[in-house]
Amino acid sequence: MIRDSKFFIENPYGRWVRDNLFSSSSSAFLTFFAGFMVIYSYRGIVGFILNPERMWTSVTYNMKLYMILAYPDEAMIRVWLSVGLALILGGLSIGFYNSGKTISLGGIFQKLFTISAVIAILIALAPTNTNVIQNDGSIEVVEIIPQDVRMLILVPSLVLTLAFFFLRNVKIKNLFNTAKVNLTYFGLIIASLYFIKIPTISLDSSGERIIPDPFLPIASTTYIPWTILYVGMLLFFFIGSLLKNRDIKIMARLIPISWFLCPLFIFSWIFKKPLVELNTVFSADIPSILVFGVIGFLIIRFSDNESVGVYRTPINIGFLVLSIVVFLLPLVFIFKATMVLLLLLLIVSPAIATTKEGKRQLFIVWVVSLFVLTFLIRGASSDTMLVTPTGSIFGGFSLTWLLAIFGTYASFPLGLALALGRTSTLPVIRIICTGIIEIVRSVPYITWLFFASVMLTVFLPAGVEFNLIIRVLILTAFFSGAYFAEYIRGGLQSIPKGQYEAANAIGMNPFQRIFLVIVPQALRTIIPTLVGSVITSFKDSSLVAIIGLFDILRIGTSVIPAQSQPVVFIGRNLEQLVFLSFFFWVFTFVFSRRSMKFEKRLGLGER
């Protein structure tokens, strides 16, 4: 037998091939079949992309439309600031959480070897010709990769593959920090913006198309901001490393909080440019902070007071009733939101404010969160100063982000509350929570979207009018919240009873038992499922196209294929679909890879 030959037994590569690809005759068949399918579809995709029928300029020319729809040009700095804030935070976290992991020069060459080998294989397998369908239905064969072009890529990549193959065994003691290496890779991508050319279109002053060259360099309005942002990111990377070396403990708390607040701040203030009137700040915001600050102070001050302890239940119920009343009254939103925060304080203060130091810290946290909450809500609830033709500043990718981030943000606490409510021993709460979860989950998302767009206005009291985007956000929060709730309930049920008993045995109160013992363990076990559902909600956000919001998918499938002036892109929907699938794939792939690393760090799947 061939598979018992010397090559397959003695050579380590040969043995791997035999053990993994040709271990039995049926697996050999599967290997050949799958390999054939992969190569066949790869050649089909390349033929499709390089087909002269495709007009890729329809994608590149509309890139800004895809990203931010009609966001005004003069406010572009706000878009860059939004991206920049995320990048700077990223740089800071990479520097601060730098695990000190290193990679040897040989390891780098190993990676480069893989990359160049893959390129060589891909270009060798690429098809030479493709079929073009003519108007009369006949098919013409067209050459897409001439032999000299193939050689121009194949020969250098083969040479590099060979070079890296030998270099990867090089024994050099120099070790490189992985974080720095990754930052360098990112820098190389930024640097490439200065050199690469893409197929795009330029128009002269009268809107006529100039056709000098099918490939044009990337616009300076793209690469200059990216360069500045990259430099900022590097700067904050070094600041992060410095803080780590100085061992500044507070950063370990500040960075996650900043990550949490960053999207909220971006969407309510930077991206939006809210119109804030000073008299509403003085008449609503400042009284709200003062009043709730005082109430919070009193709650914290007397939380462990025994004489108040007698009235705890009536006080709690009183606040609950008050908050429901506040919610029903036509008041500014800030009061309603702060009331929820106050209820939270009422629940947590007996557990935390047990010592003088604990009370002091809780009060500081309370005041800071009051300010932050008021600030964010003032931005979010104010009108925008930006003027767009459609009256909405969210569209395209910015809308997708908005839906995905807020869907996750709002649905996670909601899901947690619903899950705890469903496992509660109080029948009323249990029935309500179970009802919400079951009703929401048993109706398709699209139906809920139609509900948001058409019926929600009928249900809301007269005079209360929400923007369509906000209606969709509320609905998405409930929809993914119900799913989250079921995942979390699964996690809760996986916690052995002994954990509850142990928490009781050391004298924890119910709040401490749930939030310090049970929930952390429950969440840890369901991280893969949660990540999966976040990815799902990111992709599901494209369904809003059905109810008339301009998300990235609707731009690609309806808007661009309708453009006739100044450049004709009529009917160019196939290019957009290819681009969008690649676009969504990049994001979900990166996301799931990150979560895999996260799972590894938490040691999941090792129990």
Partner: protein
């Protein structure tokens, strides 16, 4: 501190919250003022300072979204024209891009003031749905497109499609028209229905169907772009359905309806006299008294009675243009021409006609 003191402090602070909210209620009261259900749309729009116009946003040449997010096209230009008449500034428009499913709900709910979204005027839409239709700005009609190599020519009729497969988008009147039309002449066809017209077109290009059908304007647009070999023909010469497209507004709102109607008529009258945005300043109003009345020469009494400024229609022509300008700017590039068609001037045998300004 005694128990009583603590409890009363808490009660006091709750009262404080209630007091602080008094100022907040004013904000809500201001918001409620915007709920004008009895007021005329005209007053509401003038007070607001801009007009909300419902368009498609993805209809080639009628209302398309450009690479910078701006909205242009034949329908969009009529939105600009309404704004020019109301405010003397064509840019005072907020567009709302609507799907065909939500357009009438959106109009009825007051999300938009006027719907100019290539909408066909039909009896049920006019009566049952609570809409009123303005003058038709574009006369469209359903046609078919086939390949010359399949024996189809522009003089073909519905009887010639016997035995062929026809692609169209599902659930629309387009589908019903072709089934009925083919049934009447006794032609047997294989109907292939897809979600969108662009998909039907992709199938037609890929050779999966022999015929594709939708409104003639869309077919002409696609032929101008995709038919490099000049192999495609559009037939029959008189469309198989009538699709008069025009502006739509809510029923029982004559003041507002008059404004929309006369903006359209003003562009048509200006076209009849050959007045364009370029020569509107040099019009001899003494020689053409109708133009004088239209552009507000005699104190613009006709316009002020409508609730507009005297020079409202002058602004429309100056800033947006007459019917012919609007038509040729948007529809000529995709291969739709006026000459000899239903959209030609009535003096040339077309249907574009306006009552006199008197």
């Amino acid at each position: 501190m005694s128990k009583k003191a603590i409890v009363s402090l808490l009660v006091l602070s709750m009262v404080a919250v209630a007091c602080a909210t008094d100022t907040a209620e004013e904000e809500v009261a201001v918001e409620e003022e915007h709920d004008h259900s009895d007021e005329s749309t005209l007053e509401m729009v003038l007070e607001r300072g801009f007009v909300k116009c419902g368009v498609s946003g993805s209809a080639t040449a009628f209302s398309e979204t450009g690479a910078d997010g701006s909205i242009t096209g034949f329908d969009a230009d009529y939105c600009y024209a309404v704004a020019a008449a109301l405010f003397g500034d064509y840019s005072k428009v907020e567009f709302k891009s609507l799907t065909s499913a939500e357009r009438f709900t959106s109009l009825a709910a007051g999300d938009i003031d006027v719907l100019i979204r290539n909408t066909t005027w039909t009896q049920s839409r006019d009566t049952e749905l609570g809409n009123d239709f303005g003058p038709t700005t574009y006369f469209d009609g359903q046609q078919l497109m086939g390949r010359n190599s399949d024996g189809i020519s522009s003089s073909s009729t519905l009887a010639d499609i016997d035995g062929l497969s026809v692609c169209t988008n599902a659930g629309t009147t387009t589908e019903k028209n072709i089934t009925e039309g083919a049934g009447l002449v006794g032609a047997t066809i294989t109907l292939v229905t897809v979600e969108k017209f662009s998909e039907a077109m992709d199938k037609f290009i890929a050779g999966e169907c022999d015929i594709v059908t939708t409104d003639g304007s869309a077919l002409v647009g696609r032929r101008a772009v995709n038919d490099a070999l000049n192999d495609w023909s559009i037939f029959p010469q008189s469309p198989i359905s009538k699709e008069p497209l025009g502006p739509v507004y809510r029923s029982n709102d004559s003041m507002w309806g008059d404004v929309i109607n006369w903006v359209v008529y003003a562009t048509i009258i200006a076209d009849e006299y050959g007045v364009t945005s370029a020569n509107v300043d040099s019009v001899d109003t003494d020689a053409f008294p109708e133009l004088g009345r239209l552009f507000g020469a005699n104190d613009g009494e006709l316009q002020t009675v409508m609730g507009l400024s005297a020079d409202a229609f002058y602004n429309v022509i100056k800033q947006v243009g007459n019917y012919d300008e609007i038509y040729s700017r948007n529809l000529n590039p995709v291969g739709l021409f006026r000459e000899g068609g239903a959209n030609d001037r009535w003096t040339n045998g077309g249907l574009i006609y306006a009552p006199p300004a008197r």
